[in-house]
Every structure is written in structure tokens, then in C-alpha cells.
């Protein structure tokens, strides 16, 4: 199997669609910790990943964004961090075909570092190290980090760099259109994000779940392209969810995704996938168009 980053030079790879919203259809009620739920419902999780591979996806990422110590704490699962991360990584690896790539996912802790909050940067860093070491132990192909701020995302990248030689992809999370241009909830623009993430040593840079639609994702990727030289990863949610009859509905259709996806590639995306609301049908159609 050709080296992951090497392939991105000449090809467009496809990563999986949504986990949360698709697992919800498999019974995940979102009121517990997501990763813990997966460890108790391994079949639902593995079937979903297998289905994404079956429609032609090349990349899976572990559903571990909510399983750092800080995110497990509200559920009293802090002490099970090692076990939960290990299990989810193993489950993901088991169904990832040898021709495909496995990324271990790290995400925000939901605590704030000084001066905004009281979280200890050392403890945040250690929580990421704990996950990185487990990922290395299980054996993955790369790391994927989701972040909406610079400092905490930087700690996650450092945790990877200090403990692994594997490539790292950093995706800017929760981007919204604002009067000052695109900004995450923490005020980071795609330009700031891409510039800093490149400085940190990211090998792939991109965008994921936020308050933007597919067309705006194109604009975000163009902004990132202007600010960095790394391959980009487009991983948008299927539009902004609306409440219809008591259910969250992501409005963007597979057809709309197919229409916009080539523009993401044109803007520099070398990996295309989807977050919340992205169904198997979305990904099957994207594979057909891009590969």
C-alpha cells in the first residue's frame, strides 16, 4: 500500500460520512458518551464503517473525538479512558480493509485554557498523549485532529509529534460566516487556522462540521489554500440542521454534495468526506463523481 501522503499528491481519497447522525439511526440516542456507546454496540459501529467502505470510501477515522479524559469526565468514565479508546480503535481497525487508511481522531476537550478558563495546559496535553500512545499501540496510519482554537489544537498536534512519526491532519471545526469573514466559535479564521496548523507541522489541513453550507465550504477551502501549501481535507456537514417534527434534519442532499464536491477538489481538497448528516448515499455519489 502506497504511503498515505504520497497518494494525496496524485489522487483524491474519500473519507467516511457522518458517524453521530448515522449511529443515531442505529439506536445511539446521543445522551451518553459517544465512544462509550460504541464500545457497547460494536456491531452497529462496525456495520456502519463497513457500509462506508462498501460504497468506496478509502479512509476511516476512529470515533474517539469524544473520548479524551475531559469529555469522559461528565459521564464518570474518566478512569475508563484507556479501555474505551483502545476498544474503539481496535473496532475501527478490524473493519478497515488493508487497502484503506485508518486515522485516529482527537478533538477538543470542551474545557478552556487560561486566560479564558482554568484548565491546565499540561493536563490537556497529557490527555491527548494518552490517546496517541493507545493509537500507536493499536497501529493506525495517521492522526486526525479537530479543533476550533489555536492553542488547544496545538497541544494535540504536539502530543502527536512527541509520541509518533505518523502524518497528522488538522481540521478546523465549527466555522461560521460572520461580518468579519469565516470564524470558528473561538474566533479563528480559515487563514489563521491554516497558517498556524502548517507552522505546527500538520501534513494535511482542512475543515469539518460547522455552521456553513456546501458553497461556503468551497470558500473556506479557497481561503485555506491561499494560506498554506498542504493537501486539504473537505469534511463538511450536510448543511445546517433544521428542526422538523421534533427531528434534526440536515438539509443538504447527496445531489447538492455531488454538485459542489468537484469545486472542493479544485480548491485543493485531496480528501473529501462528510460530517453530520452525510449519509451512505451522499458518499456513494461522491465516490462515483470523484474517483
Amino acid at each position: 500500500m502506497a504511503e498515505f501522503l504520497q497518494r494525496l499528491k496524485t489522487e483524491v481519497l474519500i473519507s467516511e460520512g457522518a458517524m453521530s447522525t448515522n449511529l443515531a439511526m442505529g439506536g445511539f440516542d446521543q445522551t451518553g458518551n459517544a465512544a462509550y456507546w460504541v464500545t457497547n454496540h460494536p456491531d452497529v459501529y462496525q456495520d456502519l464503517l463497513k457500509a462506508f467502505f462498501n460504497v468506496g470510501c478509502d479512509i476511516s477515522t476512529t470515533y474517539t473525538s469524544a473520548s479524551n479524559r475531559f469529555r469522559l469526565k461528565p459521564f464518570g468514565l474518566e478512569d475508563k479512558a484507556g479501555e474505551i479508546n483502545y476498544k474503539v480503535a481496535r473496532l475501527t481497525k478490524e473493519v478497515t480493509p488493508s487497502t484503506c487508511y485508518l486515522g485516529f481522531s482527537l478533538a477538543a476537550t470542551a474545557v478552556f485554557l487560561p486566560p479564558m478558563g482554568n484548565a491546565s495546559p499540561d493536563e490537556v496535553y497529557e490527555s491527548y498523549v494518552e490517546q496517541v500512545v493507545i493509537a500507536e499501540d493499536v497501529g493506525v496510519d495517521f492522526f486526525q485532529i479537530h479543533g476550533s482554537d489555536i492553542e488547544q489544537t496545538g497541544l494535540a498536534v504536539k502530543a502527536v509529534k512527541d509520541n509518533s512519526k505518523l502524518p497528522v491532519a488538522v481540521l478546523l471545526h465549527s466555522i461560521n460566516p460572520t461580518p468579519k469573514g469565516f470564524r470558528t466559535m473561538m474566533g479563528v479564521s480559515p487563514t489563521m487556522g491554516a497558517t498556524k496548523f502548517q507552522e505546527f507541522g500538520a501534513d494535511v489541513i482542512g475543515q469539518t462540521c460547522g455552521g456553513i453550507n456546501y458553497e461556503e465550504s468551497t470558500a473556506v477551502l479557497k481561503e485555506m489554500r491561499a494560506a498554506c501549501s498542504k493537501p486539504l481535507w473537505a469534511r463538511p456537514n450536510a448543511g445546517i440542521p433544521e428542526l422538523v417534527d421534533g427531528k434534526a434534519v440536515h438539509p443538504a442532499t447527496p445531489e447538492q454534495m455531488v454538485e459542489e464536491a468537484p469545486k472542493w477538489v479544485e480548491a485543493g481538497a485531496r480528501i473529501v468526506g462528510g460530517c453530520c448528516g452525510t449519509t451512505l448515499e451522499h458518499m456513494a455519489k461522491v465516490v462515483a463523481v470523484l474517483k
Partner: protein, 215 residues
């Protein structure tokens, strides 16, 4: 007190910038000049939070600015508190209870609402996350005049409805309810019989004043 206006302007400015040490210096200077603590609060700090709140609502300011200003605000209030207590007609603060409803553990949005409500001068009783209807009812019985519920999850919305119903059944006089959080809409708020809805933290503070007839 020729300098009062300048001082209050500086206090407002430093608060908006989240400059805690500089803000404390100015607040202390104002107190030393004999300015009433209430004036500092009502004409310096609260208007500062108001302006920042408006900027946040328009997405011209973001979460870090709000968190920094909230820190500066509590440091300033700490300085003012002993003097506020001295004032004869101490303002009885209006109690507001706030929490993320049962089945949901998201706390960032709820905390931002808490910051803005505190900044608007309310006494905020933050119940926390994953709060069952009875938790909100208890808070109302303990004197909260407004109950604010947050939910980010569709799956938790039924608990929002159950909480509004539980409060109605408890027949607490003059209690008001307000809901918000990611997917919650005005239409949903109306459908469950909530008194108010706010799309974001800054709007929540405004709505709270409106619901409690402080505007």
C-alpha cells in the same frame, strides 16, 4: 468628580477588552474618588457587557472575548461587593436559574448564557448539566423568577417540554421560562409553552430583562 465620565468610559472599555488588572485599577480608582459602587456597576460594567453582548450576537466578537470579559467582570464585582453591601437600599437581585436539560451534557452555550445574565445584573443559579425537570422546579421554589433551559440535542427536547410542564403543574406564581440551544427555535419554544426563546447568549440576557419587565 469631573473625571467620573472618563473613568466609567475606561471601565467599560477595559471590561470589553477583558483586561482584568487594568479594569481592577480603574474600579479601585473610581471607588477611591468616592463614586458609588452601584454607579460603577450600572454605568460602567453592565453597559460594557451589553455592548460586548451585542457584538457577540452580531458575530463580531467570539467566545474568547466573552470569557475574558466575564473573568474581568467577576474580578471587578469582587472589588465592588463590600461597597454594594454598604449601600442602604441594596438592590435585591433577581434570581434566575439556568441549566442544560436532562439527557444533555453540553455546557458551553449554557455557561455563556450564565455570563451574559450575570453581566446584565441577575443573580444566576447555575444548576449544571443533565438536570431533570424536578431540578428546575426546585430552583423555582427556592426563589428563581426565571428558569432558563438549554439543549443542544434533539433527543433532549422532550425533557425541555417536560420541564415547562412540570413548572406549570407546580403552580409557582409568576415563574417565567426561557429556552435556547443550537436547534431550538422560536416556533418550538411556542409549541411547548415556554415564555421566551433566545437564539444566543446575548439575546438571552435581553430576553430575560424583557420577560421580567426590566426593560
Amino acid at each position: 468628580m469631573k473625571e467620573a465620565g472618563t473613568l466609567l468610559g475606561g471601565i467599560k472599555q477595559r471590561l470589553m477588552e477583558g483586561q482584568t488588572p487594568q479594569l481592577k485599577e480603574l474600579v479601585q480608582a473610581a471607588l477611591d474618588e468616592g463614586m458609588e459602587a452601584e454607579e460603577i456597576l450600572n454605568r460602567g460594567l453592565i453597559p460594557g457587557m451589553d455592548v460586548l453582548g451585542q457584538q457577540f450576537e452580531k458575530k463580531e466578537a467570539y467566545v474568547p472575548e466573552l470569557l475574558l470579559a466575564a473573568r474581568a467582570m467577576s474580578a471587578a464585582i469582587e472589588l465592588l461587593e463590600p461597597h454594594l453591601a454598604k449601600v442602604e437600599a441594596k438592590v435585591a437581585k433577581t434570581k434566575v436559574a439556568l441549566g442544560t436539560v436532562q439527557g444533555d451534557i453540553h455546557n458551553i452555550g449554557k455557561n455563556l448564557v450564565g455570563i451574559m445574565l450575570t453581566g446584565a445584573g441577575f443573580e444566576v443559579h447555575d444548576l449544571g448539566i443533565n438536570i431533570p425537570p424536578q431540578g428546575f422546579v426546585d430552583a423555582a421554589k427556592e426563589g428563581a423568577r426565571l428558569v432558563c433551559m438549554s439543549s443542544l440535542l434533539v433527543t433532549s427536547l422532550p425533557f425541555m417540554k417536560a420541564t415547562v410542564e412540570a413548572l406549570r403543574e407546580a403552580e409557582i406564581r409568576d415563574i417565567k421560562t426561557m429556552v435556547g440551544g443550537a436547534i431550538v427555535t422560536q416556533a418550538y419554544a411556542r409549541s411547548i409553552g415556554a415564555d421566551g426563546y433566545a437564539p444566543n447568549a446575548a439575546a438571552a440576557a435581553k430576553k430575560a430583562k424583557e420577560l421580567l419587565s426590566f426593560t
